[in-house]
Structures are given as structure tokens and as C-alpha cells.
């Protein structure tokens, strides 16, 4: 109880400092989260990004609810089962498209984007693939965010040998090419690749840890010198609490920006892993895995690689647009 009281007072104190008129403090205030949020509202790019994220996340939630709780009841009732086929001829091109291998008249409007090598509808598989991409993005980024934030905050707060040891360890993680690290991780812990996607997510999360750790550490260096941290120390608040209640919240803005961008990166990497066969396994509908299937047919049916590619691109662009907007808003050096 006593600890909480101190924390509350100190938070208020810090707000009043931020509102102060001095130039350095103004810069500090512009790093703050609330300022960033107000800036975002005026930035069309960031808003478009946010809209894309909301749409894809909604699709992912619907798909997840259907897959996990309804066992594809929704999909089967209103559409096609994404994992079972065939619903039509195999390898149908999108509606109205043909080449020397496929007759355009065979395509139907009931499969607007065509069917895959098992006669499953491509559009429905793309829809359910959103689920994998969004899950992967959020889960792996959360892992990296939590791990990296704790490591970086502890290293920056204590400094000295703790900092040296932790940051060298982080550097080692950074020096191993992440794709190789993740592949080795997947193969080592899941030889049958039954849960390869889960381990790929964990692996990507670990691989993104160094970036978060370095980012927050550089902010913590200045935050730990603040008066409110000193006051908390003087009041006898435990280091653990100071780090969690004061240091991390006040160093968090750049980390949040990075997290937004990292979600896009994670989606790209895991799609690449699935493409190589170390991520989502068949019959799961995932964009990377669909690209992998498309690779075998690239000479006769080029369209297969286009749609999952576009899906990945739009989703990742959404996160990048929001991330860019957040970064511009949070960066006091760039005059808006």
C-alpha cells in the first residue's frame, strides 16, 4: 500500500515537470505517449495504417473464432472449408484469366481467385491465412518486447558489470543471422515440425529481443537520472518497483514505435520461414505456405504467388504506416 502511494505522488510530480516551460523539458514532453497519440490523429498516413490494421485484425479474430470454437462452421455454411477439398477442379486460375495451360472459360465466379492444387478455394484460404499472420505478428513481438524491455531496463538501470554482461549477451544474439537462429531453433526443439509455427514465433521473438533491449536501454540512461527516480530511491522503494513503475513506463514511447514496425517484420520473417518449410505446416492455411505451394507451379500458374504476396504486403504496409507515423510523432528532432 505504502509503495503504491509513493508511486502515485511521484507520477503526478513527473507530469508537472513535463508541463514546465524549459526547452529541455519540452523535448522530454514530446517524447511522451499522450503527445504521440494527439499527433497521430492529424497524420493521414498513420490513420490509413491504423485502418488496415483494424480490418486485418478483425478478419483474423473472426477466422480464429471460427477455427477454434466453431470448427469452421461459419466457413462451411457461408463459404468453403479452408482446409478440406476439393471444391472444384484443381489449379483453377482466377476468374476470367487463362493462358496456354488453362482455359479461361473453365474459371467460375464461385472461386473468384481460383483453386489450389487440391481444389481448395484460394480466397477462403487467404482469409483464414490472416489469422496466422496476425497471431504471429502479435505473439512474437510481445515476446521480444517483454524480454527486450526487461533486459534493457535492468541493464540500463543498474549499469556497470550487469550492463556489460547483459548487453554482450544481447550482442551475441544480434550477431547470429536471425533467420538461421530461428531455423536452428525450430529444428532443435521441434524435429517433427508439428508445432513448427509456435517455435518459429518464439524464435522470431527471441531474435527481435536485442533491438528492444538496445532501444530502451539508451532511454533508461537518461530516465534513471530523473528526480522522481531519485525520490523513489530515497523513499525506500525497491529497485524492482522503480524499474517496473517508473523507469519502463517513462522509456516506453520509442519501444512502442519499434514494436509496431516489428510486427510487420515478424509477419515477413515467418512467411519466409513457412515458405522454406520451417513455419506453418500443411494443411494450415498460411500465406507463406501458399507461396511455397505456388513455387511448384510458377511456370504454369503464376497467379498463385501473387495473391498471398499481396496479402502479406498490405498487412505489413499497414503496420509500417502506423509505425512511421508514430515514429515521426515521437521524434522531437524532426520538425513537423
Amino acid at each position: 500500500m505504502a509503495v503504491d502511494d509513493t508511486a502515485g505522488t511521484l507520477d503526478r510530480e513527473e507530469e508537472s515537470t513535463e508541463a514546465g516551460g524549459l526547452e529541455a523539458e519540452e523535448v522530454e514532453a514530446r517524447v511522451g505517449l499522450s503527445y504521440t497519440v494527439t499527433q497521430i490523429r492529424r497524420d493521414p498516413t498513420a490513420l490509413v495504417g491504423l485502418a488496415i490494421i483494424i480490418v486485418t485484425t478483425t478478419v483474423a479474430i473472426v477466422a480464429t473464432v471460427d477455427a477454434v470454437f466453431l470448427e469452421y462452421w461459419l466457413a462451411e455454411t457461408f463459404w468453403y472449408h479452408p482446409l478440406r477439398g476439393p471444391h472444384a477442379d484443381t489449379n483453377l486460375p482466377p476468374y476470367g484469366v487463362g493462358n496456354q495451360y488453362y482455359d479461361a472459360s473453365r474459371t467460375t465466379l464461385s472461386h473468384p481467385l481460383g483453386t489450389d492444387f487440391r481444389g481448395r478455394d484460394v480466397a477462403v484460404r487467404l482469409f483464414y491465412g490472416t489469422r496466422i499472420a496476425i497471431t504471429v505478428g502479435f505473439v512474437s513481438t510481445t515476446l521480444g518486447l517483454v524480454g527486450g524491455t526487461l533486459t534493457g531496463a535492468v541493464a540500463g538501470y543498474y549499469g556497470g558489470w550487469i550492463d556489460d554482461v547483459l548487453m554482450r549477451a544481447v550482442e551475441i544474439l544480434y550477431a547470429i543471422p536471425f533467420l538461421i537462429l530461428v531455423i536452428a531453433f525450430v529444428v532443435a526443439f521441434d524435429p517433427d515440425r508439428k508445432n513448427a509455427l509456435l517455435f518459429a514465433m518464439i524464435g522470431v521473438g527471441i531474435a527481435s529481443l536485442p533491438t528492444f533491449a538496445r532501444l530502451i536501454r539508451s532511454r533508461v540512461f537518461s530516465v534513471r537520472e530523473e528526480e522522481y527516480v531519485e525520490a523513489a530511491k530515497a523513499a525506500g522503494v525497491k529497485d524492482r518497483w522503480i524499474i517496473l513503475r517508473h523507469v519502463i513506463p517513462n522509456s516506453f514511447a520509442p519501444v512502442l514505435v519499434q514494436a509496431t514496425l516489428q510486427i510487420g517484420v515478424a509477419i515477413l520473417i515467418v512467411a519466409g520461414l513457412s515458405f522454406l518449410g520451417y513455419g506453418a505446416q500443411p494443411p494450415t492455411a498460411s500465406w507463406g505456405q501458399m507461396l511455397n505451394n505456388a513455387r511448384n507451379l510458377m511456370l504454369t500458374n503464376q497467379w498463385f504467388s501473387i495473391f498471398p504476396g499481396i496479402c502479406i504486403m498490405i498487412t505489413v504496409i499497414g503496420f509500417n504506416m502506423l509505425g512511421d507515423g508514430l515514429r515521426d510523432a515521437a521524434d522531437p528532432r524532426i520538425q513537423n
Binding site: 550477431a175 532443435a188 524532426i334
Partner: protein, 322 residues
Amino acid sequence: MGLLRYAVRRLLQAIPVLLGIVTITFFLSNAIPGDPVDIMLGASPGQAQKEAIQAKFGLDKPLWVRYINYVGDVSPIWLTMTDSFPYVAPEFGVDLGRSIHFRAPVSRKIMERLPVTLLLMGSAFAFAIATAVPLGVISAYRRNKPTDHVSRVVALVGVSTPSFPAEVDGAATQGDVVVTAGHHLVLPTIALGTLQMAAITRIERSAMLEQLSQDYVRLARAYGISDRTILRKHAFRPAQLPVITIIGLQLTAAIGGAVLTETVFEINGMGRLIITAIDALDYPLIMGTTIVFGLVFVIGVIATDISYAYVDPRVSYGEREA
């Protein structure tokens, strides 16, 4: 502190990092279940035969003995860091072990494959830098004008596009145009370089914007110095520091990208070597390739650190940086 002393100190600091890489890869690749000897011999091998092969590759010894032996064998790699690894490696007695899958020394396999990957990555970075730097500068100079918007969209799409579907289509069209090494290189270079290009353009733009809003630029304008001169002589150089940093850090991303690019275009480089090694549980080869990649990365980061001095003479190598 002189540049030479700084370089030496950075090299010494790289030792624990490389030791860490060796340690992580050693234990991670040994954590992979399955026995490479089983994979090599196929179904139902004789016990004696199996033991003989295990003894040959030292797999019969306990894990920690193998670890210490391995570190001892690899250690002289430090000596080669200043020169063109791995061509000098055998003289110093670096032993990366023998590949179980290829039945050949690991260093020989790496020597075969490394130049291909370095060529691919080098040309990808050359392409990326040559396009990204002018694009970023123009974008910053013409801020919020159509040119800026176009280049920002290009960068945004470039950084968000998975390179492999584009590569799949690229490889499809390339199929019958297999003529020269030059031809072979164009599409993979663009495929691998696009991501780096987009990343560098974005950093270049924001770094230039930051410099252009500095007081000294305002002063130069007040003196009536032309925008071109300010851009070329004043703002450009200091803006390159973050750009160099990102180029160094993009190296790991490029190595990961090289694995994908080499798989799609069926280029026999390090990336495919490492995939082969992982699939065959070839411990010595997995470790050897990862260590060499780690070495490439560490050298890249040190090179970027040192090149700061050429770009910005104010950079001091004396004090400890936070």
C-alpha cells in the same frame, strides 16, 4: 586515441562475442534430436560400423569435451580476422572440422560457397546504396512535394514486400535466360537489394531532414549560400552517420535474405549450404557456416564503426560510448 588502437580494441572486444556465437551454435545444434550418423548410414547400420564413424568424428566423447575441443580448434580464427578469411585459414591451423554430410573439410565447403554469397550480398548492397542515397536526399530536399511522396511510397512498399513471391516470378522468367554470371546476378541482386534499399532510403531521408533543420544550415542560408552547396557540402556528410549504422545492422537481415534468395534462384551459396546442413543434422557444417556468418557480421559492424571517423572527424574514439 588513434584509429589503429581503436580498431585493435574493437577487434579484441569482438572475441567474447564470437565465443558466444560459437557456444550458442554448438549447444543449439547439439540440441537437435536425431543422430547424424544414423542419417548418414541409412536403415539398420551395424553397431561396429556406427561406433567407428562416431569415433572418427569424435561423437563418442561427452558433450563438454567436444565443446572444449571445438573451441580450441576454432580459436585461431581470431588471427585471420585481419586478412581475407578463409584463404589464409589453413596456415594458422584453423580447423572447423569435417562435414559429415559432404565428407569433406568444412572450411573447404565454406571456401567454395562464401565467394558466391559475398558477391551476391556485395552487389545487393551496392545496388541498394546507389539508389537509396540519392533517393533519400532528394526526398528530404523536396519535402512534402510529389517527388518526396513518390520516393516514400517506393520505400514503404519496398520495406513491406516479401521478396520471395517476386523472386518466384523472377526465377520463372529467368529460367531460360541462363547465359552469363552477370545475367544470373541481376534478378537476385534486385530481389535481395530492395529491402536494404527501402531501409536505407528511409534513414537517409530522416537524417537529411534532421540536418537541414539545424542552426548551421539556417546560418548558411542567411549567408546566401545556394541550396545545392548546402546540400552537398554542409548537410550531406553529417547526415551519413545513422545511414552507415543502418547499413552495418542491415547485414544480418541481408544474410537472412540471402538464404531465401539462394533457395529461390537455386544459387549454390552459403545460404543453401546452411539449409542443407540443418536438414542433414551436419553439426560441424552448421557451426562452421554460422560462425563464418557471425564473423562477416562482426567485421561489418567494426568496419562501420571505423568508417565513422572518415565521415565525421568529430567522432572521438577515446571515451567509452553509452
